[in-house]
């Protein structure tokens, strides 16, 4: 961990809001990406990201300075997302998302980089399709796959975030990857 970050955390331990603001700026989009791909809903992901940072601030004394701050923060974000998924599973029939609405909210905040309307539509459709496939993964495979392919973290970092051995991380990624492959290709009629 770099020295600036160490200094910032020291200040946060003394309850310095400005120092914490800098840490939020540094990690907010990574935390958001994890939550978004874990739960698949923009508004929920934003709320979960907020909660993750508030929790990190309130429990900063539990953070072990010898380890990477991002590992600790991503663990909070992943656990909150999993808790959310479990809660949602129990109340799913009441507020099941209407197909299509989520896509709209996500597109509203995605940058429009001057691409052709056709390209944009295609990208949106691919995006929604891939997210839908992630949503089908069991949560333990989902978190491993998200940390690996969305955040591009090493197996070791993932094992520290999820607090499981590297071997287990590998197994979960392999199974998640295999499930994605199966589900994604069955639609194209190419199932092996």
């Amino acid at each position: 961990m770099d020295q600036t970050e160490k200094r910032l955390i020291k200040k946060v331990k003394k309850r310095d809001h400005q120092a914490f603001a800098l840490l939020v700026e540094r990690y907010k989009n990574s935390v958001f990406a994890i939550c978004l791909r874990m739960v698949g809903q923009v508004q929920e992901a934003e709320d979960l990201s907020q909660e993750a940072f508030i929790r990190a601030y309130n429990h900063i004394d539990q953070y072990d300075q010898e380890r990477k701050f991002s590992t600790w923060l991503f663990r909070i974000a992943t656990n909150l997302s999993i808790d959310f998924l479990r809660r949602r599973k129990n109340t799913v029939s009441l507020d099941a998302s209407v197909p299509g609405t989520e896509e709209l909210t996500l597109n509203a905040i995605l940058p429009d980089e001057g691409e052709h309307p056709e390209e944009r539509i295609l990208r949106k459709e691919t995006e929604a399709f891939v997210q839908h496939e992630i949503d089908k993964l069991p949560e333990k495979y989902r978190s491993a796959v998200v940390l690996k392919y969305i955040e591009d973290l090493s197996l070791k970092e993932i094992s520290e975030i999820m607090e499981i051995p590297v071997g287990t991380v590998k197994t979960r990624i392999h199974r998640g990857r295999e499930m994605l492959r199966k589900n994604m290709t069955v639609k194209g009629g190419k199932q092996t």
Binding site: V24, A33, E46, L110, P111, V130, E133, I150, R181
Partner: protein, 127 residues
């Protein structure tokens, strides 16, 4: 998959995890060249992870940080200390005033005592 070899499946995983040796890579690619089932399987695995990698990373709005800060418990630092860290020059000056004024008061007292001594001594000499 019709090619029943678990061996190649685990090789595929090793290659995708970037943990395969050159020899293992070669072994897999030689097999893929001759086995359609495994080649399709491997390409599908690669394609699905590639789709994941290409997912957008949307940015949170700038107001996010502010919203988080507003929900934190109030800062423990006193207003004076916060003012202090925002105005380091004034703080240093303020801190320096204390010892400087002590020194000056001390110096003036010394001078006064000396004067008194001279005065008393002067009186004593007269008598």
């Amino acid at each position: 998959m019709s090619c029943s070899s678990v061996k190649y499946l685990s090789l595929m995983n090793k290659v995708l995890d970037q943990e395969a040796t050159d020899q293992e890579k070669q072994q897999l690619f030689e097999h893929l060249a001759s086995c359609d089932t495994c080649r399709i399987h491997f390409n599908e695995l690669k394609a699905s992870t590639e789709l994941l990698r290409r997912l957008a990373h949307p940015q949170l709005p700038a107001v996010f940080t502010k919203t988080v800060l507003e929900q934190l418990p109030p800062e423990k630092r006193h207003a004076i200390r916060r003012w202090g860290s925002q105005h380091p020059v004034l703080t240093t000056m303020a801190i320096c005033v204390v010892p400087m004024s002590l020194v000056m008061i001390g110096a003036r007292r010394q001078v006064r005592e000396k004067n008194n001594y001279v005065l008393i001594k002067g009186l004593g000499d007269q008598t």
